[in-house]
């Protein structure tokens, strides 16, 4: 087992915004913060997952979340995941499973065996939790299985597994016909979490504080949506490379004033850049969409490579895990738990009505189409990470559906003046293949050859259109 073997430190990715550049130290701060909190013993620490709409509950009860996907991502970005992946494999876990989870389980098993952090653990390592909060959602089996597997090595650490389903899109059904019983269930599951955390912390929930934090999150959601919409400007002031940093306040800091303030600053920074016509790329030639897939955390420099070819990424579906609340058709309630449940349903069903109106569409495809138009996109890039079915299965099919709309032939469309005009709607796509943190699946040469070929395709389409 190559326990001490580490890859060479990757070259730091260049960011377009000050806000994105500030993220690295911020993440390091909250990893070391968990280690300090563990040492002081004043706060309870909970392993948990992003995008569960439960941060408000944890923070209202002074529980410090330990974001295990984040730590695995850090190991990947620092090219130091391999030794933990190999340890998980030695336990009998297949490399084909979620590598975030494998990295986390390998780390946990090693830490528990040693009784201390594994040697040279990235940023000090991942602390032992007081309890773990899994989520059985409609997606992501590993979220339900990961902590159960880790519990083999720390059986005294209890788990609360919170079920968070939402109605699947079915064209012949209005999701509102069923969402009342979904809401009832979600509320019971969230109240179950409150009861579990109360038992673990021996504290009672302060519902006034919870209400304030829910309100703070809601305001952050709307602010974040407004901020990201600014990226539709030409040239684009901030790309997906930076968004892979600014996902940190969205996913790991929600329900904090710091997250809200971060987006106040970012919004101001983007407005300034737009006023100065300052783009992510000096001479923007192509506007691309990151249309799906988690990034290869060890290869974020590839975004700089795209930039070097004049390509910018004004929008991405990955980690944009919020939607404007004023556009959600959800009932008003003063109960913060009920609101969290409605917000959950509102978010996951956000594109359903629009998707129903377009033959051949479905919510993920509809979101792509809307953003292709809104952000004036020339091409779509996706990443297929071999170890994750949650975010990566269905991408080929989505491109297949898109290709029915964006055909490589001129179409007759009604223009602004009401007259029909010939429009080229071709939209090329590129699928990159590797993994989220398993660097053995990645080849920089192959990836960049693919990018070069894709840029050539974009060039030739532009030439053909001009002709």
């Amino acid at each position: 087992m190559a326990e001490e073997q580490r890859e060479a430190k990757p070259k730091k990715r260049m960011t377009a915004t000050r806000a994105a550049a500030s993220i690295g130290p911020l993440v390091k701060e909250f990893i070391t913060g968990t280690i300090q909190a563990r040492a002081e013993g004043k706060q309870k620490l909970a392993y948990t997952f992003i995008v569960c709409h439960h941060e408000e509950i944890l923070r209202a009860m002074d529980v410090l979340p330990v974001w295990t996907e984040n730590f695995a991502g850090i190991c990947g970005a620092k090219r130091d995941a391999e030794r933990f992946l190999q340890r998980a494999e030695s336990l009998g876990l297949s490399r084909s499973l979620c590598t975030y989870a494998l990295c986390g389980i390998g780390f946990d098993q090693w830490r528990e065996e040693l009784g201390e952090m594994p040697p040279n653990a990235p940023w000090g390592g991942q602390v032992r939790p007081d309890f773990m909060i899994s989520t059985g959602q409609i997606l992501c089996d590993p979220r339900s299985k990961w902590y159960q597997a880790s519990q083999q090595f720390m059986p005294d650490v209890p788990i609360y597994n919170m079920d968070l389903p939402y109605p699947m899109f079915q064209r012949d059904r209005d999701h509102r016909d069923v969402w009342n019983y979904y809401h009832t269930y979600l509320v019971k599951q969230l109240r179950g979490l409150v009861a579990f955390v109360e038992e673990q912390t021996q504290k009672k929930m302060n519902y006034d504080r919870l209400r304030e934090l829910v309100d703070l999150s809601d305001r952050t959601w709307n602010l974040m949506d407004e901020t990201y919409k600014l990226r539709a400007a030409v040239p684009c002031p901030m790309g997906t490379g930076d968004a892979m940093n600014t996902m940190v306040p969205i996913c790991f800091m929600m329900a904090t004033q710091k997250a809200h303030d971060f987006f106040v600053d970012l919004k101001k920074e983007l407005e300034d850049k737009i006023a100065k016509k300052e783009g992510e790329v000096e001479n923007e030639k192509y506007r691309l969409m990151w249309g799906g897939g988690l990034p290869a955390w060890y290869a974020l420099n590839d975004f700089n490579y795209f930039n070097s070819k004049g390509a910018s990424f004004p929008v991405e579906t990955t980690y944009r895990m919020v939607a404007p609340l004023d556009q959600m058709d959800i009932p008003e309630t003063k109960d913060p738990i009920e609101h969290l449940a409605w917000r959950w349903l509102g978010y996951w069903t956000f594109w359903y009505d629009k998707a129903k109106k377009r033959p051949g569409s479905e919510p993920d495809v509809e979101r792509l189409i809307n953003w292709i138009e809104e952000y004036k996109i020339d091409g779509v890039v996706m990443h297929e990470a071999f170890s994750c079915r949650t975010w990566h299965v269905g991408l080929i099919w989505q491109l297949h559906q898109l290709s029915k709309i964006y055909k490589p032939i001129p179409l007759l469309m009604v223009g602004k003046d009401g007259k029909k005009e010939k429009v080229f709607r071709e939209l090329p796509s590129l699928i990159l293949e590797s993994d989220i943190i398993d660097i053995t699946s990645y080849s920089e040469v192959d990836t960049r050859n693919k990018i070069d070929a894709f840029i050539d395709t974009l060039d030739s389409i532009r030439v053909n259109r001009a002709a």
Binding site: P142, Q148, R389
Partner: protein, 386 residues
Amino acid sequence: MNGTESGVLNTVERYYKNYGLRAKELKAEGKKIIGYMCSFVPLEMITAAGCIPFRVRGNIHEPITTGDTLLETIVCPYYRSCFDLSTKQKYDFLSGLVIPHGCDSMVRSYSAWSYALPFSYFHFVNIPTVCDDSSFEFFRAELDTFRKSLETFAGKAITEKDLAQAIRVHNENRDKARALYDLRKADPPLISGTELTRVLTVGSSLPITEANALFDHVLAEIGRREKSPLKKGARILIDGACLDNIELIKLVEELGGNVVADTLCNGARDSLPRTDVGGDPLKALAGRYLGKINCPKTYRKNKAGTFEGDMTSRFGDIGAYAKEFKVDGAILYVYKYCDPFGFEVPARKAYYKSIQVPLLHLEDVYSAGTMGQLKTRVQAFLEMIG
């Protein structure tokens, strides 16, 4: 289906090889055949709607081709094969398809299935991931939605009486399956693993009353056997997910082992648990499919607070089968890219060690191309356990 008792196993083999033959005949007669994936789909509901539930199978001998144009290769290989065959019109006699929330592969590919196939009916059944009281209440409501959806499709109301009747005939099937399993208790077993797998597989392609008649014929024929056609050998339990073909079991038996027990979706996991009778049928169905189908996808709380206690609660059925069928060794057969089972491998290994049952863990890709490698490993395992 007209299998005489003496030739019933030949009939089973014919229907196994021409999977869907009877369903095609029934379709021609105007019946509605509803395909389904996974053990989580409540078959009683389909039967109560006057339709015929039909389990969609893959084929390990058929290379995956057209399916890969729409679905990623990181999907469960068994599921990919099912999708591939469907896109090649192997199941064009189906009127509809029901997919449950069984795993990420099923959820994420639902759109691809529903747009790529020309069936007039598609339905997704959301299965809770946990087993709280509220989960059963939610699941009951979700089953009611399924009922309404089927009523619209079938053009008939599904009454409580219809459901109670469907539960009764499906329970009969489970009792007969249990009787078939009991034939494995003899040493050597009176029915081989290969024979039983064929029978159960064919049963899942027939209307439930025909499956019951078939099982009766098989029980009668096997019951007439004066001695087992098998030789004594290591008694093997196969643990895993969907194994809808005989290849691995046949391989074990050709190498001198006898497959006498399993926890498979196409075997004991699905075929044995009964639905409670009396009372609210929807509640009973929720109880069976969430509470009694022991799938790793469903999270069951660690009430013991110890790893040993948790193992006993999660894998106790394995220990019970191992004891009941006097198992000498087990094969844990897991598909690559299967997250629900894959994450349980270390815990399952620990459990087998705790009950002192030797274990062979195989990761496979649902392809006949791997049988040579599997043969070497199974042979070594059988030699090791003597």
